[in-house]
Amino acid sequence: MKKAILWAPLAMFLIFAAMVAGKLYAPGDSSIVSHMVGKPLPAFALPAGMPDRPGLANTDFAKGKPRLLNIFASWCVPCAAEAPQLVELRKAGVEIDAIAIRDRPEDIAEFLKRYGDPYARIGSDANSSVQVAMGSSGVPESFVIDGQGIIRHQHIGDIRPENVPDILAAIRAAQ
């Protein structure tokens, strides 16, 4: 008994070392995953982000077909990087709506002119309130919403070319 106690500090240290070694080799993801996936969209009704098309409300989603909800901003650099992929998804027949975070109509217009415009509707979230209600922690993020208005999939960060099939698969799964 007495002997065993003496080895306890070493045992505790070894547990610690094993734990951090595991973490070192599988660093994991430091991104904060939304816990809203699998739940219905929160109720919201955002004003139009641009004069040429309507704003966005949660009721726009529960219409039978899955849609991609892209959270972006004209001032966000990775958003410009993912724009070609969004255009490609649009061409593949995906319906895309957007929430523009802390943005102005003229900046959004300029951004879409430069990087392409895949959006059906754009809601303006001037104080990030809908973003927070969705459990999103930054721009860009994309959510797949099924035909009943349930959030089915979250993509954190910009959509790279290699992510496009995943998004398409998530859309198909939400059918």
Binding site: I5, S34, C76, N127, S128, V132
Partner: protein, 136 residues
């Protein structure tokens, strides 16, 4: 992030410039509620919510825009009469336990919350042999 760099004196940094929007901060992000009791409630809650952008800080002392928007939201909802605990639960439902600096009390965290008592008991048990009985 800044604090981390400063306090430990072990310094290094990655140049990941966090872009900011051109829009001004929400006025409620840095304006106190007129009722000091409610402001105190809001402040206490903000200090317990972790900033999702600069993960080491609470939203109460973060310069990130999203943290400012969360502060504004907390103040508005407290002003509207919502209880801090309800707002905290609402945030946890969105971001998980991660968002709150106060860990939940559940089977997985029982060891954590019991730690102070456990450590003291183990310490007393280890020290018991060191003491002489009185009156010898």
């Amino acid at each position: 992030m800044k604090r981390a760099a400063i306090l430990i004196g072990l310094i290094g940094w990655a140049a990941t410039a966090q872009a900011d929007s051109l829009m001004p901060a929400d006025p409620m992000a840095d304006t106190q509620l007129s009722d000091p009791a409610k402001e105190a409630q809001a402040k206490a809650l903000m200090e317990n919510l972790r900033c999702v952008v600069c993960q080491g800080q609470s939203i109460a002392d973060s310069d990130a825009e999203l943290a400012g928007d969360m502060r504004a939201m907390v103040r508005r909802r407290i002003a509207a009469g919502e209880k801090p605990e309800a707002i905290r639960a609402w945030m946890v439902a969105r971001y998980g336990d991660w968002i709150s600096f106060r860990p939940p009390v559940e089977p997985l965290t029982w060891p954590l919350w019991a730690a102070p008592i456990l450590f003291l008991l183990v310490g007393l048990w280890l020290a018991r042999g060191r003491f002489r009985r009185r009156g010898r």
